[in-house]
Subunit: 256 residues, 2 copies
Amino acid sequence: MGGKKAADADPARSLALLWGSHSKPGRSGLTVRSIVLAAIELADANGLEAVSMRQVADRLEVGTMSLYTHVPGKTELTDLMIDTAFGELYADVDAPSGQPGGWRGALEFIAARNWDLYRRHPWMLHIVGGRPVLGPNATLKYEAELRPLDGIGLSDVEMDSVLALILTHVEGTARLQANMAQTQQDTGMTDAEWWVSNAPLLDKVVDASRFPVASRVGQSAGEEYQAASSPTHALTFGLARILDGVADLIAGRERP
Amino acid sequence: MGGKKAADADPARSLALLWGSHSKPGRSGLTVRSIVLAAIELADANGLEAVSMRQVADRLEVGTMSLYTHVPGKTELTDLMIDTAFGELYADVDAPSGQPGGWRGALEFIAARNWDLYRRHPWMLHIVGGRPVLGPNATLKYEAELRPLDGIGLSDVEMDSVLALILTHVEGTARLQANMAQTQQDTGMTDAEWWVSNAPLLDKVVDASRFPVASRVGQSAGEEYQAASSPTHALTFGLARILDGVADLIAGRERP
DNA sequence: GACCGTACCGTACATCGTACGGCTCGGTTA
DNA sequence: TAACCGAGCCGTACGATGTACGGTACGGTC
């Protein structure tokens, strides 16, 4: 980097870019949209760190600096990538509300959709987003995910809190999943392989007398998952607990 | 980077480094420990991206490449940073179990301790850790945090799952907190300032007819937090729901 | 046919992790 | 004492990165 991490000093510029109408391509066919799509393809295929201005430009067969005509900088590009990816989620705004099982079914659907999104685009988890993106698709997502929580006895702030809780949980377990997959690919070693190769080493170094519970539970979990942890199990187990807790909250609101 | 992100092809090397006894300093006083401490100081003060081999070496008044005599590479260094930071948590292994309020009080204590840790060392949230660190302090932490869950009717795997759920939640909300603080510092703009400067822009672009619930709830939450979200509120609200859900699980185990 | 704004892009700079090869010591042996 | 050797230390170099800056070349309007 040249200097600081300036972030965008001008939020209006970002907003205009996010909500702005599609501009006409210039003489080399370059568009904001084409740049964003190329960046997403790169990130999907090779991970976020493969998305450099040079790589994106190469893919578009264009000079590196030409990108800066359409996009102020890389942070704005990643913002655009995120909002564009969110666009895949809800073609029908009322899809979550239409799920069977009331609010609980809807939240399970929302969790699953977000989980799938992170599976398709793991790079979304590695972007350090200062503030929320506030693009059109992010707003649509917010609307779609709030609707099934409307009118079931929660206050506005509680609706937002419940949704945030679910999304934080999904994001956390998805991050675990993505990191494990990434590492598996980098090292060329399966988690199971890693586990069996590290278990004896660990046993030698962790004595069961000093760490009785940890060694017992770690052993059980390790055998259960054939790894240090299981993201999918963490997702469903955690979601079940959270939804039970939310049910308690709603029941409390119903009978005050 | 020169080539790939090789990660550590040899896990045994990392383990030896983590559990290895302290080595004697050479003729310039350089030690694994001194390197790790310098790196942590840098990260605490200036963020994770300020931790470069050159910066660490400069702080120790030593040539850059001298670090590689003691530490195989940067990934191993960050592993060591993490395990060292974990060492701050539980001087007394039985501290969590000693909390009032049974398992629930203990879990609240654990959540708070981890939250504080991330406040002190926000860089821990930005390290992309492929696999868990498995150092001595990480193991101690695992033991200390599992003990209050032992013997209350949960299976081994359930104990691990409950703990992971709590920790994922804390990490998620702490990441939110850290990102917001970071951005606030980078842009020199308070979240409140950002909110009041973006609210009118957003109103102009998000029409309440297309996004009725989102605009209403977003407005309420924004006014409540004077920001897009409130990490501390998310922490306590989410923790309460989760603990309620865990209570349900335990109750179900008690009366089958 | 002249002009001009905009799209495009080549070069340069500071920064990164680390491979490689050389230097300089402290301690052991002949 | 002299020779030697391994380990600690480090200077240089390479290929990356984001982007500031200044230049080129083109499409559309008079």
